[in-house]
Amino acid sequence: MIQILFSLVFFSLLFIQTDNRIHERHSMVRHQIEGRGLRDSLTLKAMRAVPRHRFVPEAQSRNAYDDSPLPIGYGQTISQPYIVAYMTEIAHLQKNSTVLEIGTGSGYQAAVLAEITDTVYTIEIVKQLGESAVERLTSLGYKNIFVKIGDGYEGWKEHAPFDAIIVTAAADHVPPPLIQQLKEGGRMVIPVGAPFFIQTLMLVEKKEGKITTRSLMPVRFVPFTRSD
């Protein structure tokens, strides 16, 4: 009897410890994401499911559900929740989509994508970040995310073409190999700008062999949508 009680207490504690911030997460989705007009049910569900606080450094844990990007070390950031959701929604993902992410960082965006699609490929160039992301994603039980530590510039030829490519680190040019590895009708989302400055999200589309871009929205702590 004591053993059963002990097991119940133990599992209850484990549950509280692992998912005790579910209310914050739901509030984040309701206010920061739905409140700003994102409606894609798959994206919202994914954002509610992924424990963001597990993807930020211990010192930043209390701010994990704030409406802002947070530093994760090595001069990198975990994007503001709204941006992660927006990039996910704009990629128009289906369950059977194959997605490539360039810039794993903490692994948060990959985890959100993995809640929607069967397979996510993600590449991180900073070894230390890549290794800790692998550890984190494994401990959280993500089996459909494949992390490669290396230069994302060349994409991941073996698994190309991709339905969507999400580039989370800004670059001063769009790598030609990534455009080549984008499927006909595929979409690529890229932030243009530095992490703490103002970024503009850009959508690159490949339709009938023609490549077009669309600057979607400028973003920083809060989206720069006009309030009037």
């Binding site: 230069d151 243009v192 703490f196 103002i198 669309r214 920083r220």
Partner: protein, 819 residues
């Protein structure tokens, strides 16, 4: 007494050299603006010394023979200790995080305190020497100024030889030696022991030599990020007064800014060059036999698609990538102007093979001078004048807001226009920033210059092409031909770019390949191109509401945009050469409404930090100036004169100095050398003025006459200096040096007289106010460095100079009110 002069002189050399070292240290580890903020606070040590001395003047005077060397030892010791200590965990802050991470405030405050100590103790030594010997103030002040003047020059020379992390040892050693020079006989043993102890600390730290902790850069600096790339390493480090240049190699770094999405080949690998941790440029492999260049697949190629250019001028040539493009495009001669010696030297020597001896090519003339100064001297004609990318990828948050950019002023563009051949072109490229600022200011400058040159149909002479991230403007002397326009359209189609300015262009063509959410951009572009002299766009005569921003549905002319747009996009002039300053105070409430309080600082942080610095310095100074009144007495006589006279001298002197530095920067074409030359010449001349002041009788009438003479000289200089400099800019360097001496020395000499004379007068009437006067002058001098910068940005150099005359005028008037 002679030893005391030498000692004060040496200490002054040490203090000014240390100030320059700190400027380098913070520019490398953080950003220039934070350097400015921390150093301004540290320099308040001078004001604080006055306050401290005012409280216990007699106690300090009684012990001055021991305290002066002791303060010198403390100053020297803390000079060498402060930088390594600031690199430890408790003191390390990241300026990038300050705006939203409160935990950064404590280490920042500790850093303030740390660097405050060497200046406070140094200023205590000087101030104590002054109040102990008021009758000899002329000589002492002379030693102080001569030392400061020499120190600036020495530090600049040393920066060619030593790496910045080794320089504090130099300053510290001088400060320690200055203390040893004046050990008093009665306590020689004890103080000698303290001095030796300081020397041991010094020796231990210096002995570590190369093992001195490297400057730890903010993780958000571009170089820090580059070093995280696979196999990234610093392969070359070179120091010079222009900055610490470091070359970083990594197999994954590539060069193709704003590359066309239709480019399918290999993107060239690059070697990245950083100056003080900020990206300066890249070097890519290039060969004379190359038939195409990576820049041909960017909007940079726009001027080349219209016609072939035999003679090309490239301003701010950097590492020569645009030079290589011009040669590849068949130019017969390329004049490349680049002010950074070390960068040019690297491409010429270490990377000669990689660039196929580009800078040694007989078609290339390399000129290492500021582009604007070159334009003023040069008499050649070119078929193409090209200005490289304005701003950086991702923006700079206004970090260049208070940097003079003479190359982008209306006068500069006018000169470019006059230098191009009848069918010639000038070309400017910029990143498409958000909110849109840089491209609009470039366009406004071009349109105003062309209008002033008599061009009426602007779209027949100005064209622009936009990619997903960049925009290139060209202005052609002769009207575009149909073939030109056809070539631009073909270029856009081939590269997936969109024309932004062409005759009779519509929105569909403007966004065929690259749609933008902010369609206001085209409204603004068309508005700037519209004729500002007519009010045809406001037929209803409605009154403009300047608190509102542009309504995208409306149609506006250039005047409307200047008045109502959220950012200042008016062209800059030589009098206010701050191209990257976009902040407008009157539209701040509107910007807050759109972007929110938390985001606002990120739009234009550079200029805002100047104001934050001003606020801190102002309030601290106010406290430091008021505090001694508790000791001196609120009702004691002569206070008004002391505050006005010594305060105004501090303000006036620095205002003149800042304007002269800027004007001589244009004259010599090298900001660092111009600053060093002006500061040194001014301080040394003022030192002689101070020495000379001993011969003058001390009355308010004398002070009135001298300050009156200064007011007169400043007003004359405000009108004639710039024309003289422009007129003589083409003279040989040696003659310009002599001329500079002749121009700077006379006013500086006279400006060195009132302060020591005033202190002598004070010593006869209110001796107890001497330390207070020293403190007031110190505080107001620091305020003036910040305030003069704000005045230059907001009002221009001419008005700043007139304001300076106003300050000296107030000092003059103060001698009328004294009884």
């Amino acid at each position: 007494m002679k030893k005391l002069y030498a000692s004060i002189g040496l200490l002054s050399v040490a203090l000014i050299a240390y100030q320059i070292v700190l400027m380098y240290f913070f520019s490398i580890t953080q950003w220039y603006h934070f350097a400015y903020m921390v150093i301004a606070i540290a320099l308040l040590g001078f004001g604080t010394s006055g306050t401290v001395l005012a409280f216990s003047r007699t106690w300090f005077i009684d012990r001055s023979s021991e305290l002066i060397p002791l303060c010198m030892f403390l100053s020297g010791t803390t000079m060498i200790i402060a930088i390594p200590v600031s690199q430890t965990r408790f003191f390390q802050f990241d300026s990038q995080l300050i705006l939203f991470d409160q935990e950064q405030i404590l280490p920042l405050s500790l850093t303030y305190l740390l660097f405050f100590i060497p200046f406070l103790s140094g200023a205590m030594a000087i101030g104590l020497a002054f109040i102990k010997n008021p009758e000899d103030i002329g000589r002492l002040y002379c030693a102080n100024l001569l030392g400061s003047g020499t120190g600036g020059g020495i530090a600049v020379v040393l920066l060619w030889i030593l790496f910045p992390q080794h320089l504090p040892a130099f300053s510290a050693l001088l400060a320690l030696v200055s203390g040893f020079l004046i050990l008093p006989k009665h306590k020689r043993k004890e103080l000698f022991s303290i001095g030796i102890l300081s020397l041991i600390v010094f020796a231990v730290l210096v002995r570590q030599g190369g093992r001195l902790p490297q400057f730890t850069m903010s993780q958000y600096k571009e170089m820090s990020k580059s070093l995280l790339l696979p196999d990234a390493k610093i392969v070359i480090s070179k120091t010079s007064p222009d900055g610490l240049v470091q070359v970083v190699q990594s197999p994954v770094m590539r060069f193709a800014p704003g590359l066309s999405l239709n480019y399918h080949s290999e993107v060239p690998k690059q070697i990245a060059l950083f100056n003080n941790g900020d990206r300066y440029g890249g070097i890519i492999r290039w060969s004379k036999s190359d038939t195409s260049h990576i820049l041909d697949y960017t909007t940079f190629a726009l001027p080349y698609v219209l016609q072939h250019h035999n003679h090309v001028l490239i301003l701010h040539a950097g590492t020569g990538i645009e030079v290589a493009q011009a040669i590849t495009r068949g130019a017969l001669s390329v004049t490349a102007v680049e002010p950074h010696h070390t960068i040019v030297s690297l491409v010429k020597n270490e990377y000669r093979e990689m660039t196929d001896s580009l800078f040694h090519d007989q078609r290339v003339s390399m000129i290492t001078v500021d582009p604007r100064s070159f334009l003023l001297r040069d008499t050649s004609t070119y078929e193409l004048i090209l200005f490289p990318m304005i701003d950086a990828f991702g923006g700079t948050m206004g970090l260049k807001a208070v940097k003079e950019q003479y190359g982008l002023t209306k006068e500069s563009v006018t000169q470019m226009w006059k230098k191009v051949s009848p069918d010639g072109i000038i070309s400017f490229s910029s990143w498409m920033d958000f909110p849109i600022r840089n491209p609009l200011k470039v366009l406004a400058t071009l349109t105003e210059v062309l209008e002033e040159q008599g061009i009426r149909e602007l779209t027949h002479h100005i064209a622009a092409v936009r990619s997903w991230g960049t925009i290139t403007f060209i202005a052609k002397r002769s009207p575009f031909t149909e073939q030109d326009i056809e070539n631009i359209r073909l270029f856009c189609t081939a590269m997936l770019f969109d024309p932004a300015i062409l005759p009779a262009i519509g929105i569909v063509e403007r966004t065929r390949y690259n749609a933008i959410q902010e369609t206001d951009f085209f409204t603004l572009v068309d508005g700037i191109l519209s004729d500002r002299s007519t009010s045809r766009l406001r037929p209803d005569g409605r009154r403009l509401d300047s608190s509102r921003s542009i309504d995208p549905s409306g149609v506006f002319d250039r005047n409307d945009i200047y008045e109502r747009y959220g950012f200042d996009v008016r062209p800059t002039t030589d009098d206010r050469p701050y191209f990257s300053q976009f902040l407008r105070w009157k539209t701040l409430p509107y910007l807050r409404q759109i972007y929110g309080d938390r985001s606002l600082p990120f739009l234009e942080i550079g200029y805002l930090i100047v104001f934050v610095t001003f606020a801190q310095v102002f309030f601290l100074s106010l406290i430091l100036i008021i505090l001694p009144l508790f000791k001196i007495g609120w009702k004691s006589s002569g206070k008004t004169w002391t505050v006005l006279f010594f305060g105004m001298l501090g303000l006036g002197y620095m205002f003149v100095e800042i304007v002269l530095i800027n004007q001589f920067t244009l004259y010599f074409g090298h900001p660092i050398y111009a600053a060093a030359a002006v500061i040194s010449l001014m301080l040394i001349s003022s030192g002689f003025g101070s020495y000379f002041s001993r011969q003058w009788s001390i009355t308010n009438v004398t002070l009135r006459n001298i300050t009156g003479a200064i007011v007169f000289m400043i007003i004359v200089y405000a009108f004639v200096l710039m024309p003289i400099l422009i007129f003589t800019i083409s003279l040989p360097f040696e003659i310009k040096i002599v001329l500079s001496l002749l121009l700077i020395a006379p006013p500086a000499f006279v400006m060195g007289i009132p302060f020591p004379l005033g202190l002598r007068l004070l010593s006869q009437r209110h001796e107890d106010q001497i330390p207070w006067a020293w403190g007031i002058n110190g505080c107001l001098s620091v305020i003036a460095t910040v305030l003069s910068l704000i005045a230059s940005v907001e009002l221009g150099f001419f008005v700043t100079m007139i304001l300076s005359a106003g300050f000296y005028g107030t000092a003059m008037i103060s001698n009328f009110i004294v009884k």
